[in-house]
Symmetry: C2
Subunit: 478 residues, 2 copies
Amino acid sequence: MGLTSEAIAYVRQRHARFLRELQEFVRIPSVSAQPRHAGDVRRCAEWLAEHLRRIGMEQATVEETARHPVVSALWRRAPGRPTVLIYGHYDVQPAGPPEAWAVPPFAATVPDGALYGRGASDDKGPLFAHVKALEAYLRTGSLPLNVVCLFEGEEEIGSPSLRAFLEQRRWYFAADVAVASDTRFLAPGRPAIIYALRGSLSMELELHGQRRDLHSGIFGGAIHNPLQAICELVARLHSADGRVAIPGFYQRVRRVSPAERVAMARVGPGDAQILHNAGAHLGWGEATDAQGLPYTLYERTTIRPALTINGLTGGYQGPGGKAVIPARALAKLSFRLVPDQEPDEIAWLARRQIAWLTPPTMRGIVRVRLGARPTRIDPLLPAFGAAARAYRRSFGASPVLLRSGGSIPVVTLFQELLGIPTVLMGLSLPDDGMHGPNERFRLTQFYTGIETCVHFLAEAARCEDLAGAAGSLRKRNR
Amino acid sequence: MGLTSEAIAYVRQRHARFLRELQEFVRIPSVSAQPRHAGDVRRCAEWLAEHLRRIGMEQATVEETARHPVVSALWRRAPGRPTVLIYGHYDVQPAGPPEAWAVPPFAATVPDGALYGRGASDDKGPLFAHVKALEAYLRTGSLPLNVVCLFEGEEEIGSPSLRAFLEQRRWYFAADVAVASDTRFLAPGRPAIIYALRGSLSMELELHGQRRDLHSGIFGGAIHNPLQAICELVARLHSADGRVAIPGFYQRVRRVSPAERVAMARVGPGDAQILHNAGAHLGWGEATDAQGLPYTLYERTTIRPALTINGLTGGYQGPGGKAVIPARALAKLSFRLVPDQEPDEIAWLARRQIAWLTPPTMRGIVRVRLGARPTRIDPLLPAFGAAARAYRRSFGASPVLLRSGGSIPVVTLFQELLGIPTVLMGLSLPDDGMHGPNERFRLTQFYTGIETCVHFLAEAARCEDLAGAAGSLRKRNR
C-alpha cells in the first residue's frame, strides 16, 4: 500500500473523532471584528497550535501581531521535494442577529448531515480538512513533500497585520506554491478552482448634524436630519443604471477579452443559479458594457467592481417610535475592485466625492480601511493541475476554473512578498450560508475534502515545477 | 392670610421634601415604548395614585387601558365653582444611548441646581408641580374650585388608548377647561402659552430584499441591497428644495394670515434663537411660500408640515466591518401636520407614494400609527388670561402666545370628546433636553412653577366663564 492509500485508509476509519474535533474548533467564538471576543480569538489560536503539535507538525507556534495572533507550523523533512504553504483562517465573522439562526451560532450541532455554526465553512471546516490530511500522512508515515502552515486570525477584518508579519518572515514561509480552501464549489459535485479575485476597500462614513439629539416635533422642518442626509448621500453614490456614481471610478477597469467572457459563460454559474444561491427573485446592477452587451450576474460579481452598503445606523432602533432628530448617522460601505483599480486611488476618489456630496448642514467623517488589490492567476499554473487531479480522485469530478467576487487579501500578499501563486481549492458549497445565519459545513464535504487534501499533497509532490511561469519569476527575483 | 397666600407659604417651606419626592418619581423608568419597561410604567402609575391619595385627592385610581394604565383622581367639593381638568403624563421617552448621558438617565441626580433624568422636564417635573399645588391647598384648607386629574402613561407612544378610555368616562372628566404643562418657556424668564400644535402620524417602513443576508463580495453588484434601496427611497421623500415630495401632501395646508405671521415674527423665537436651542449652525427646510416670502425657522416648525426620519437600521452595526448584504432594512418616519391636513389621508398618500417608489427588487411593508389632528385654540380664551396672571404673580413676567411644532394628542381629544379647550401652560425651558440625553428640570422652574399652578387655580376660580366661546359651544352641545 502506498503512502497515499495508507493516509486515505487512516482518514476513513476516523470520521467520528475528526467531527468531534471540528465541533470543538467551531465552538470557540473567534470573532475577530468584536473586541469582546479578543480572548476567544487567542484561545482558538492556542487550541489550533496545540492540535498541530499533537499531530506531529513541527515548530507549531502562536505568534503575536498588532491584533490577533498567527498560528504557524512546518515540516521540512523532504529535501529536494517542493514546498506547499497551507493557508487558512481560524477567525470568523460576527454571528449576526441570533433570532435569524435556527440553532445557536456557536453550538456546532449536527442536526442533518451538516455541522452548523459560524465559521463552519468559512473557514474552520476547510482549514481543518487540510490539518487532518497532514495528520493522516504523519501518523501513517511521513509527508510526501515539505509543508509550512499559516493560519491567520484577521481574515474577516481584512488581514491588517499580515503584511508586516510576512515581511519579517519571508524565509520561514518560503514555498513553491500556496494552497487555501476559503472558496466554494460551483454546486454540489462540481468543484471549482478560483483563478481571479476582486480587491476590496472598506469605509465608514459618519455624518454629524446639530450638537445633540432633538425633539422632531419641536425642530422637524427646520433642522437637517443626519439620517436623511446620509440617505441622500448614499443614494447618490449609485446612478439609476446601477453603476457606481463616483467620477473616475471605472477609469482603470481592465476590459476582459471576449474569449474569456465566452469561457466564463460556458463554465460559470448562470443568472438563475446565482439568484437561487442568493435567495432573490430579481437581479440588479450594471446592465451592459460600453458596447451594449449585457453583463451576466456572474460578470457583474467578478469582472466588474461594486459598492455595497454593509450597515447603516442612526436614531431610534427600538420597538415603537421615538420623536427624535438624531445628532449623527453612520454608514459602513465596502468596494469590490477589479484589475487595474488601485485601492488607495479608489479611496481618494470616494473621499473626494463624499466631501462634494456632503451638505453644508453636516460635518462628514470618513474612515478608510485599505483592503487587497484585485488578483488574477494564470489558469495554466501546474499546481492547478495537481488540484484538478486531487478533486477527480476524491469527488470524482474535474473542477471548473472560476472567477470569484470575493477578496482574499493573502493571495495578493503571497504574490507580492513570497512571489508564489495560490491554489484556491474550495471545499464549501454555495448555499453554506457564509457570512449569513445558519452557516454550515456538510459532513460529506468535510470527509471527502480531507481526501482531496491528501491527494493534493501527493500530486503536488509529483510535479516537476509546481508554480510554472510564476515560480520561474520567483527564482529570477531571488 | 387668604387661601392662596397660605398655599404659597406652605410650598416655600417644603422645597426639600418636594424635591426628594420628584427624584423618587423620576427614578422609576416608566418608558412606555419599550415592552421590557411595562412593569415600571405600572409601578409608576401606582406610585402616583398613592401619592394623590396621600395629599387628599379623592377617588385616586389606576385604571386599565389596552396597554398602560391611566391615573385619575378628583376633588369636587366646590359646588357652583368651575372645574379644571389637570392633565399630565407619567410615561417617558426611551433614555437613548447611555454613553451620551453625563449622568445615569434614571438616577435623578441634582449636580447643579437642576434635576437630571429622563422625564425630568417631559413631563414628570411639570406634572408634579400641579400635584404639589393641589397638596398646598388641600393641606392648608381646601381647593378654590373643582379639580379632576388625568395622568396618562402612553403620551410618548402617541396616546393610543386614550380616546377609547375617555369615550367611556366623559362625565367623570367633565370640566370647563383643561390645563397641561407639557410645553416650554420661550427662554428663561419668558413664559409661554401654546395656542397651536402640529398633528402627528408615525410610520415604519421595512424593505425586504433577498431571503437571507449575503456575502457582499460574492454577490455585490448583482443583488439589490435593501439598505441601499431604503436610502434611495427615503432620499426621494424630500425634494431638493426641502419640501416633502409626496403628491397631494400640501393640498389641504391652510394658509396662515399675514397678520398672524407678523405677530409670530414679533413675539416668537428668531432663527438665531432656534439654531441656538438646536445646537445647529445652519437651518434647513422649506425656503419660501408660494409668493416667495421666506419662511422663518419658527414658521417651518409650526405653520408648515414636516417629515422626519427618526431611525434607520440595517446590516452590520458593530465595530469594524462585515462583508454583508442584509436581507432587510427598516426606517422609522414621522410626519408633523398642520390644519387642515388629516392624518388618515396623509397616511394614505404616503403609503401610495412609498409603494410607487419601492423598486421591483424589494418587498415593502408599511406600518402606520395614526397620531393626532393638528389643533389651534382661540388666543382670546379667558382661561389663557388666568394663566397669564398666574405667570405674572409667580415668575413676574407675562407669557407670550406661541405656536408649537410638537403634538399633544390629548388636546385634540379634550376638544372632540369633552368639548373643552386646553391651557398649555409650560414650565420647562427650551434647552432642557426633552427627548435627548441629559434631560433636566431646573429647581427654580420647579419651585416657582408650583406657585404658578397655585395661582392658576385661584385665578381660574375667579373667572366668570373660563372657556369663553369654546365653553359656550360645549354647553350648546350638551
